[in-house]
Every structure is written in structure tokens, then in C-alpha cells.
């Protein structure tokens, strides 16, 4: 965009003569339009399914073990409980942690047993992580994401349901965005689990909000804890809202248990 002259000079004249006119080319292009630019909202990058392939998964495993997880551990000095019992939780499942910091995702991924991690995709907000090709590739490569559209049309949940149907676990945050505290649960996880009949694994992450608050980088090192609870299965005829509340209560119970220590 910076150089308007570049295009005309490179492309050359039309095949059968025509306006060359490069002398009049401006150094910088500007446009004047009558309304808001529809393209600014439509710049999202598509899903990158090839980064979920076998080779890419191996590369990811290598990158995570050598760089991402050691770094995460240095920053968060984490303690994990309940991960061993995940062996007995049914898959595919929705992994539902509370969300207060960007470091939550690598931390939870690290805390998951390998057989879970290798089968888990992360729902990443499409408006944030898929806004440019570079972030989309980075997120996909490092933490195995798929674009999760938080719009009102349920496109994100449909994509998540497709992953569940294919047998992958899906990590999505019931709070939908980084929040301090455990409140503000949205209905998405409930709708997803009830519609697909998959259980949700409640996860409580504590301490990360202080290390890497929303809108800032890593501020300091500190202690964190990740606790996995037993899977919550949707009951016959249960409303999504009730299920969401049960998941919220399960996360709350994990938080309570952490507090008692």
C-alpha cells in the first residue's frame, strides 16, 4: 500500500497499449469512501487445518516441550492436582477452565496428561487471534487453535461441535473472555455440551491474573495452581442454562478446595 507507483511500474502497460500514466502515480494511496469500510471487519483469517495434521502435531509437541512449557513453568511455578484422574474421564470432552490471563491456555495444556493434550484443540477468539495471518499461524502452531467466532450466530459452537464429533477434546472458556473472579459464565459451554451430549471437565486456575493481567505482559513471577475436577455429564432433558450453572459450581468447588489448603 505504501508505494502506489510500484504496482503500475511492475505490471507494465495493458497488453494492447493504453494508459500508462505512472507519472501521475501518488506516492501513497488514499481513498475517500461514503461509509464505513466493510473490509476492516472482514479481515479474519481462515482456519488452518493443516496445522492439526500429524507432522504439525509432532512439531508442536517439540516446540511446546522445549520452549513454551519451560517458559510457562518459570513464570507460573505451577502446582497441579487431579490430572491423574483424567485418565478415567471420558473423551471427547469440553475442557472448561476459568479465564483470567493469557497464560491460562499454555498452563492448562501443560497440566493436561499427554493423551489428552494430543487430542485437544483450543477455541481461540477469531476476532483476536485470527485477525492477521501471522497470529493465526502462531496460535495454531503453538497451542493448536481453531477460530472460535464469538458472534451471535453460533458459528463458533458449530465449529467446536464438529471437533467434538471428530473425537477431539475442545478447550473453551465458559467466561468467554478474560475475567477476574469466577462470575460471568456465558451459556455457550452449556449449549455445546447439551447439544452434543459431551461432558465438561471443570478446571480451576488460580494466581495467573496477577502474573499477566489483561492488557499487559508478564508483570512478575508467582505461584499458580491448576485443579482438574471430575467430568460433569449432561443429564437427560437438562437445560443448557442448568448445565452451565453446574459447571460453574464445579469450578467454584475446586476454587474452594484450593482456598482451604
Amino acid at each position: 500500500m505504501r508505494s502506489g507507483r510500484l504496482l503500475e511500474r511492475l505490471a507494465g502497460p495493458p497488453r494492447d497499449g493504453g494508459t500508462g500514466g505512472s507519472a501521475r502515480s501518488p506516492a501513497r494511496w488514499r481513498t475517500r469512501r461514503g461509509g464505513p469500510d466493510p473490509w476492516s471487519a472482514a479481515a479474519e483469517v481462515a482456519d488452518q487445518p493443516w496445522l492439526r495434521g500429524r507432522r504439525a502435531s509432532l512439531a508442536r509437541e517439540g516446540l511446546q516441550q522445549s520452549l513454551l512449557f519451560p517458559l510457562t513453568r518459570v513464570v507460573t511455578s505451577p502446582k497441579v492436582s487431579g490430572a491423574d484422574d483424567l485418565l478415567h474421564a471420558p473423551q471427547p470432552a469440553v475442557i472448561a477452565p476459568n479465564h483470567s490471563s493469557d497464560v491460562d491456555t499454555p498452563l492448562v495444556l501443560w497440566a493436561l496428561p499427554r493423551v489428552w493434550r494430543m487430542r485437544t484443540v483450543v477455541g481461540a477468539a477469531s476476532d483476536r487471534f485470527y485477525a492477521s495471518r501471522r497470529t493465526a499461524l502462531m496460535a495454531s502452531l503453538w497451542i493448536n487453535t481453531f477460530p472460535f467466532d464469538r458472534g451471535s450466530e453460533g458459528r463458533g459452537l458449530a465449529a467446536a461441535a464438529e471437533h467434538l464429533r471428530g473425537g477431539s477434546n475442545v478447550l473453551i472458556y465458559p467466561q468467554a473472555t478474560r475475567t477476574s473472579g469466577l462470575g460471568g459464565l456465558r451459556g455457550g459451554v452449556g449449549r455445546l455440551c447439551v447439544a452434543t451430549g459431551t461432558p465438561a471437565v471443570p478446571v480451576h486456575v488460580s494466581g495467573t491474573g496477577l502474573l499477566m493481567p489483561k492488557g499487559r505482559g508478564v508483570t512478575r513471577r508467582g505461584r499458580t495452581e491448576v485443579r482438574f475436577g471430575p467430568a460433569v455429564e449432561p443429564l437427560a432433558g437438562e437445560e443448557p442454562q442448568e448445565f452451565t450453572e453446574r459447571v460453574g459450581a464445579a469450578i467454584g468447588a475446586l476454587a474452594g478446595a484450593a482456598g482451604r489448603r
Binding site: L87, H88, A89, P90, Q91, P92, V115, W116, M118, R119, R165, G166, G167, G197
Partner: protein, 382 residues
């Protein structure tokens, strides 16, 4: 008479095993005298279409079991899925399918063995006695000839008339369809039970159709590697299809079972399918079958397993019933009727001439990827 004759050779067998390539070791095309009927009960049959069965391919790739080798007499002409016409006598020109089992009645063995008396002719004990040489069935016996030729002999009790409205293509699959009916009966699903069929080759697809026929209320899940196979399975009556690696996920979804992923990524279901028909017969398919079957469920071995490596500890822990399904029991009339209704000819690819046998054998595994899964030799002259 042109015929493809198979002469076993230990060296070739070993070479094929090592190279793991589908070859045609020991198969030669030559002119020979037509086989002579042992007595007046036998009729000469001229094949019209003759199928290439998975067990035939196993013969050349070296994965056939040496145990079964004992029950053959060499050299023989392979081919036991045969539709032909009677070549002489009063019934000359009549179209027939051949029920290939060489049982007591056919061999003239007296007295009849227990299985034959029950009608289980394919399980006859006297397969090494009587008026023809040893051999489980036509296509493994030196004296009868086989389908991959221009002539064979068969006992009149082995011949089933083909109704005029049934095409040759439909009829050539009557024999495997009879086997499939037998396998479906062995699985014996009750109404509402969930049945898995692993593999969507000819036998897998026909098992789906047979299950639909015998147990219309069962829920049938079929695994298929290729989209065209999945489509064919649905057309023949499968309620659900999935890729082989998706089997545990789908089975868990269908039955409400819990799917656990354990150490080294081993998947198992708590609960699972009520019956599973393994129509592949590899170690992987057997292991998959065992992991998705509910306790005290049944796994039916339909595809020939041969020598396999499989972890069967769950079969032990869950007290599974593992049973084979090899032949048929008076299933031919029902199979002829069903073949007509299903239009099994859709599953048959274009026929090959005997002289193209090496290409036909090379093509057979590839054809299985399309919707037309069965490769045949076309011996019709017109």
C-alpha cells in the same frame, strides 16, 4: 480349455511373505483338458463370471494360512464365486450359481458326518475323502477345476438355478452373500441392538445388507476407509458410517458408552456395541473389534484373520464371545432372492479376461476403494 492354474511353491510363498506384495506367485495361464465328471451326478459347468475373493488374493500374497493349505489338493484352479451355465446334458444352457462346498453328499462319502447331517455343508469333516481329491471347496480341489477357467465340474446338488431377471453381475455375488447371511446369523443381533461392521469391502458391504435383512431393527455402524465405500454401505442399509480410526468415537456416541483414552493412546469403551463383525481380518481390526464391544458381546470373525498380532486382553476381561463365520447353511436360495432385490451387480466392476490376470489381481485391491468393490473375470464369449 483356458485356465489359470495355481501350483504352490514354498520358496515363492516365502518370497511373497517377505516382500509383502500382492503378486501372482504360482499362477500360470495354460491350456488344459477340461476336468472329467467323476460320475453321472456331476455336470460340466462353463463359468460366465468368476469373482476374485480376498482369500484368493491371500493365496498369492503369502498371507494364507498353512493350516488351510492342508485342506487343498494341488495343483488347482482357483475361483469359487461362480456364475456359469451348464455345458451338457438335459439342463444344457441353464444359468446356475455354484455352491462350492465339497461336502459328504457331493463327495459320496458314507456315512454323512455330523455337520453335513445338520446341513452345515461348509464345515464337513470329510474334505479329504470320497470321489474327488482333498479340498474344502471348488477352487481348492485338483479334480473339480475352478472358476478361473473355461470349464469345471460340479455335483448337481451344488448347482442353484439363477432366475432370468437376475443378471450375471448380481449372481456372481450370491456366494459371498450367502456367507454374509451366515455371518449375520452368527452375530444374531436382537432388535434395537447396535452392530458394528468393520471394513467395507465386498464381504463387509454384503454383511451390512444381510444384517439389514435379518435384523431390520438393529442399528448398524459400518467403518469405511473410502468415501465411495461409505456411500455404498449406506445404500445397502448401514445407519451410520465412519472412518476406521473414528470407530470408538462413533460407537461411544451411538451407544452412550464412555470412551477412555489410556496409556499409549489406547482407546477403550466402557460399554459399547453389542455385536461386531470383523470383515477385515487384520490384527488392527480384531483389536479394534475387541475394544468397542460391550462385556459379553460377540465378535464374529468374518474376514480370514490368518496370522495376526493383536492385544486381546479385553476379550478376556470382558468375557467376549469370539466366533468364526466361514460358510453357509442352506443360504443360497435366500441369497439369490436377496441379490435380486439389492441389485448386488452394482458392486461389481468391469470384468477382466483371463489373459489379463496379472492386471486383474493388481487392480483388485485398488477397485475396492471405489463403490465397485468386486473384481471379476469375465468368461462370457458373446
Amino acid at each position: 480349455m483356458l485356465a489359470l492354474e495355481y501350483t504352490p511353491s514354498v520358496a515363492r510363498h516365502a518370497a511373497a511373505r517377505v516382500s509383502r506384495r500382492a503378486g501372482e506367485g504360482g499362477l500360470t495361464l495354460r491350456r488344459m483338458a477340461p476336468p472329467r465328471p467323476p460320475n453321472a451326478d456331476w455336470l460340466a459347468v462353463r463359468p460366465r463370471l468368476s469373482g476374485i475373493c480376498g482369500s484368493d488374493q491371500a493365496l498369492f500374497s503369502g498371507s494364507a494360512s498353512p493350516y488351510l493349505g492342508t485342506l487343498t489338493s494341488t495343483p488347482f484352479v482357483p475361483g469359487h464365486e461362480i456364475v456359469g451355465e451348464i455345458a451338457g446334458g438335459e439342463r444344457r444352457g441353464e444359468r446356475v450359481v455354484v455352491e462350492p462346498a465339497l461336502s459328504c453328499v457331493v463327495r459320496g462319502a458314507e456315512p454323512e458326518c455330523t455337520e453335513c447331517a445338520e446341513g452345515l455343508t461348509a464345515l464337513c469333516r470329510n474334505t479329504v475323502e470320497g470321489e474327488v481329491s482333498a479340498g474344502l471347496q471348488i477352487g481348492y480341489c485338483r479334480d473339480t477345476g475352478g472358476g478361473w477357467s473355461e470349464g469345471l465340474v460340479a455335483h448337481h446338488s451344488q448347482l442353484h438355478a439363477v432366475p432370468a431377471e437376475l443378471s450375471d453381475e448380481d449372481a456372481v455375488l450370491v456366494e459371498p452373500l450367502a456367507c454374509a447371511l451366515n455371518a449375520a446369523r452368527a452375530a444374531a443381533p436382537s432388535p434395537g441392538e447396535a452392530v458394528g461392521v468393520i471394513g467395507a469391502g465386498t464381504i463387509g458391504l454384503l454383511c451390512v445388507a444381510a444384517l439389514r435383512e435379518l435384523a431390520p431393527d438393529a442399528v448398524v455402524l459400518c467403518t469405511a476407509k473410502h468415501p465411495a465405500q461409505a456411500h455404498a454401505a449406506r445404500r445397502l442399509g448401514a445407519d451410520h458410517t465412519c472412518a476406521p480410526e473414528q470407530l470408538p468415537v462413533e460407537a461411544a456416541r451411538l451407544t452412550g458408552a464412555r470412551r477412555l483414552v489410556g496409556h499409549l493412546g489406547r482407546e477403550l469403551l466402557l460399554g459399547g456395541l453389542d455385536r461386531v463383525l470383523d470383515c477385515v481380518g487384520s490384527g488392527d481390526s480384531l483389536e479394534a473389534a475387541v475394544t468397542v464391544t460391550r462385556p459379553r458381546g460377540t465378535v464374529v470373525l468374518v474376514g480370514m484373520p490368518g496370522q495376526v498380532r493383536a492385544d486381546l486382553s479385553l476379550a478376556w476381561q470382558r468375557e467376549l464371545e469370539l466366533r468364526g463365520a466361514y460358510g453357509y447353511r442352506g443360504d443360497f436360495p435366500a441369497a439369490i432372492d436377496l441379490a435380486g432385490r439389492l441389485g448386488t451387480g452394482r458392486l461389481v466392476a468391469d470384468g477382466w479376461h483371463l489373459s489379463d490376470h496379472s492386471r486383474a489381481l493388481a487392480e483388485a485391491p485398488r477397485a475396492a476403494r471405489s463403490g465397485q468393490v468386486r473384481t471379476v473375470f469375465d468368461l462370457r464369449t458373446e
